[in-house]
Subunit: 386 residues, 2 copies
Amino acid sequence: MKNFNFYNPTRIFFGKDETDKIGKLSKQYGDNVLLVYGKTAIKRNGLYDRVISRLKEENINVFELPGIDPNPRIESIREGGELCKKHKIDLVLAVGGGSVIDASKGIASAALYDGDPWDFYSYKEESKGALPIASILTLSATGSEMNAGSVVTNFATKEKNGWGSPFTNPKFSILDPVNTFSVSKHQTACGIVDALTHVYEFYFSSDQAYLNDRVCESIMKTVIHFGPIALKDPENFEARSNLMFSSTLALNGLSGFGKTWDGFNHTTEHLLSAYYDIAHADGLAILAPHWMDKILSKKTLNKFYEFAVNVWGVEESEDKMSVAKEGINRVYKFYEAIKMPLKLSDVEIIDPPLDELAKRATKNGTIGRYINLDYSDVLDILNKAL
Amino acid sequence: MKNFNFYNPTRIFFGKDETDKIGKLSKQYGDNVLLVYGKTAIKRNGLYDRVISRLKEENINVFELPGIDPNPRIESIREGGELCKKHKIDLVLAVGGGSVIDASKGIASAALYDGDPWDFYSYKEESKGALPIASILTLSATGSEMNAGSVVTNFATKEKNGWGSPFTNPKFSILDPVNTFSVSKHQTACGIVDALTHVYEFYFSSDQAYLNDRVCESIMKTVIHFGPIALKDPENFEARSNLMFSSTLALNGLSGFGKTWDGFNHTTEHLLSAYYDIAHADGLAILAPHWMDKILSKKTLNKFYEFAVNVWGVEESEDKMSVAKEGINRVYKFYEAIKMPLKLSDVEIIDPPLDELAKRATKNGTIGRYINLDYSDVLDILNKAL
């Protein structure tokens, strides 16, 4: 097992009605809260009113930044940072999914910075601090509720960059599965694919880490088991609970200890959605199975065999290659069954600039740390995904 | 899934040679360190010299409390607390296994308390704080390196009590698997049983928590896979690495989320070792299989069936009861293979006061939250374990 550090100081309050703790928990940080959220979902399902009530009961002054986009934009970060400065905000409270939480991390950092927050996301400056951040999660997907990462898009430069600092772990996150009951089928499916792909990025690795492999398989099996149940029965508490904490564990450090992050799927998808503003998980669903097809070889056979048998329940056989291929086939079938796109054309990306995309994906020579892929490999994957 | 809180702020530095970071890490907390350790093991294997060198390089004043017992005693806590006060200690550094780390938590709390630290362990007083605690782990077993718990024995009152406070999580723990290469076969086997039993306490539960079950199975499978390898080849890095982080995860909150702690095995064992000063894991090895035999019934059948199939690889069959029994049989066989005791007589407990023990174990009426066991049930288990 290779060396690693593990540190995750986010407090998790998990379960039904934990939402009601938000007033007292927030008050610990001060009187002025910036409430960051997306479009209308939390107003439709009553969560907005509930949160506001709990905050008001503690005499908290609530300022608002609504309208965070699914691919949060640097403009929102700038605006939120200014609001924090203007209103002397004590806590940035994200109520939403990964986009809203990601944006809140940028905003909390921008609040204590005099320059343009894109400096962080373009790795020009290091953050020296951030306001306290907290979240009430409404979508099981990105894991942002229990990590320091933040992904923000700059459409002006066609860049979608991931960044984080020692100050951007939420102080606490409330994970109330009931808050995900009203998530649409497509958003639920997106969360499923997002969590799975977070795990793929570590599971597919040449680093030996038996315990990590088993933990990754546990997360994937849980997501595969409960995903379809939640899609069929959106108010199934066990399904929503298991999906929720699975997606948290998929990117809180637990899926990654002792392993090297591969990165092909996330890096290439960020490129796609910086060009086309597609849903992150749609891009991941399109890329991952084609990537698996590409990297399956004698060298990776044992890993894909384990994946097929331990995750997808494919029957063991001496013909390991057939088993491995059947494992990948199950990924395609599963994504199809949960109605995720499998082709770029499924999300209306027609005639994309393949050459430009493959060049940008491999701007450092190759992409992917498990199997290093070069320009022609990436071009091949994108062609197959057309 | 039932509601839960999760919070674990201990920093983990895992891997080969991470030990050398101890000087700089300790210095962050101040100039005066109390080094707490056990008998002679760390002097024999060179770890003591290595730690002292790194601390001296940072001009740290090292005070020492050696001689912590395998079942740490309240007398050591009192002595350590006095040393902290006298030398204005800034950091209590445990170099050892669970006993040493547990003792350090008591000592760091006693340092900031004017009364007798047994007040904490007898639940008379709440701790208001503790000095910073850190550890260099030398034995994969208790998980104390990444939790707040501390178990201390008062032989005067025949009590062995577990306690912890919001201040007793180590600030950081160094997990260098090489530091466990010289652990004896019996100590290694004890660690294996300790980690497994920590998982049993949560795995065997009537709470539904699919993800938790899979994670618990991952930890158990890893321990069962690598335990015999480490026993055969004590310097096998992968085996020692996997055992080390498995035993950490077995009691850092991850094995327990969404589940109710059963407690029969630990509570009853604490009673045994308060009477007989046996190794904690010896007691656990003797109790757990007999406890499993006792609680296997129609009600618990599905759980034991899963345990047999998913953890021990017993072949699936429609005769679920046979499969479940074979699972328990594998536990006996495994413990036997790793040379752990299966009977009280194996650890020279002859003619114990069964009535008194069963009465004390069930002083609250019943013991065990998964299956509530009464006086006669406990007497039965103890009789079978004679």
